[in-house]
Subunit: 273 residues, 2 copies
């Protein structure tokens, strides 16, 4: 597997530069020559949806994905309906922003019944899918690390995400593979192969040792133990040719000036991914 | 699935009362009517091996397991040999203490190559197994939660532990199932069924929400989100009839007087497991 010689597929997931607004992140990408950006709904709402779309378009960037839909399970029927309505808005936002991928965080359960929550996630996706297809948006099921099973996502393996995606006979559903969430899986190579044809995104960062925090402990590529090139090789072999997003939740990185983060991110992408 | 009406299968894994010596933990179990204890090598070493064995025997307790062997991968051949030698001593200690289960923590990798580390774990177990069999000790592969994949164990799913155990044609190898490590797994019911016949231990505690810490964040049964009775039911259906150990890493519980912890543990075992 050869290193990349350019950053034609690199995307800044804007959570990596959490202090930056949409405009600041877009300008930063332009300065660094990064061609894609992954946007967050909260940031887009701060700037305004149409203004965000205009900023990105004017800068000549492409939007690799919108984070995040999902969060389907809820205690009451009214709340579940509100979540579905919110996901429909997220689909509209993705279409307006010019991306065809809405990343889904599928959970958590509201009680001790993780099996029932998984069944409901499938039901909710089934309800959303026609709306997504109408808008030309694909729903990307992102399996999260099992340490988030109680608080964020009941979908915690790529095997499960693949099976879930395959149960819908639609080209508007697929999976998003983030190395941080799946690197530990003894089946990961097999499951990346199984995902061929419905991989909607590939996210990179690193797993730090020791892990400083469950949520804010992700590291820059090369600072941890993940076999990044091995996983990229598997995703390449599965014929994924789309953008590669760098998505890092880490207070130290957030406190670093954005241009420095982007420069390091570019260097490590070329060295490690 | 009926609740237990007695504590005939209950075991105190002594890490739960981390401040207690072997003698204090044994006395505490006697006062609480708990018939089994799971011992830790560090604690046994503090008291002395033969003295620990005598204390347990005199009290009429049975030892459900010894924690922990394993930690096989190392950077040099000499260090790997030293780890194997240490595991042979752990086997001898288990035999002296009167338990037939040595719990193995299988990892971590010493580099970014988790696949190679998994292969070496298998090789190391193969080297130890005849010695374990000679001593009448069984090696219990405990899959740890994937969040420990970098720092503790490269074996992180019950599926993988089952496959590993089955590759040795021996009744001296099996798996130890700890709800904390496996509850998130969409395959867990299936894999507990697959483990039938080689389940060497069943450990309970709970997964707290929010999770306060990667290592010290385990909770008392009933304080978290794990479907304990569902998992116990699956283990019952797999014909496991051995001791059920309560193993909790939690600073607050460690700071609680041991007798209080044991009383709560008995109540929650009857209510929740």
């Amino acid at each position: 597997m050869e290193p990349f010689t350019d950053i034609a597929r690199l995307s800044l997931n804007q959570i990596t530069t959490q202090r930056w607004s949409v405009r600041e992140a877009v300008d930063g990408c332009v300065r660094a020559g990064i061609p894609f950006i992954g946007l967050w709904r909260e940031k887009v709402a701060e700037t305004g949806l149409r203004e965000s779309a205009r900023i990105v378009l004017d800068a000549g960037l492409r939007v690799s994905s919108l984070c995040r839909g999902g969060w389907f399970p809820a205690a009451t029927a009214a709340e579940r309906q509100a979540r579905l309505d919110d996901n429909r808005r997220a689909i509209e936002e993705a279409a307006t922003l010019g991306t065809d991928v809405l990343v889904l965080v599928c959970g958590p359960a509201v009680d001790r019944n993780i099996t029932a929550a998984r069944a409901y996630v499938e039901e909710a996706i089934g309800q959303l899918l026609p709306y997504a297809a109408e808008h030309g948006v694909k729903l990307g099921i992102e399996p999260l690390h099992p340490m988030y099973a109680a608080e964020r996502s009941v979908i915690v393996t790529l095997a499960e995400a693949n099976q879930l995606a395959r149960r819908f006979d639609s080209r508007h559903i697929g999976v998003v593979i983030d190395v941080y969430h799946v690197w530990w899986d003894p089946e990961i190579s097999l499951q990346i192969t199984e995902a061929a044809g419905h991989i909607l995104g590939f996210h990179v960062c690193d797993w730090l040792v020791p892990t400083p925090d469950l949520l804010m402990g992700r590291g820059m590529m090369g600072d941890g133990v993940i076999d990044l090139r091995g996983l990229r090789s598997a995703v390449d072999a599965a014929a994924y040719t789309g953008p590669i997003e760098v998505e890092i939740f880490n207070r130290t990185i957030w406190d670093t000036p954005g241009d420095e983060t982007l420069a390091l991110m570019v260097r490590r992408y070329l060295e490690c991914v």
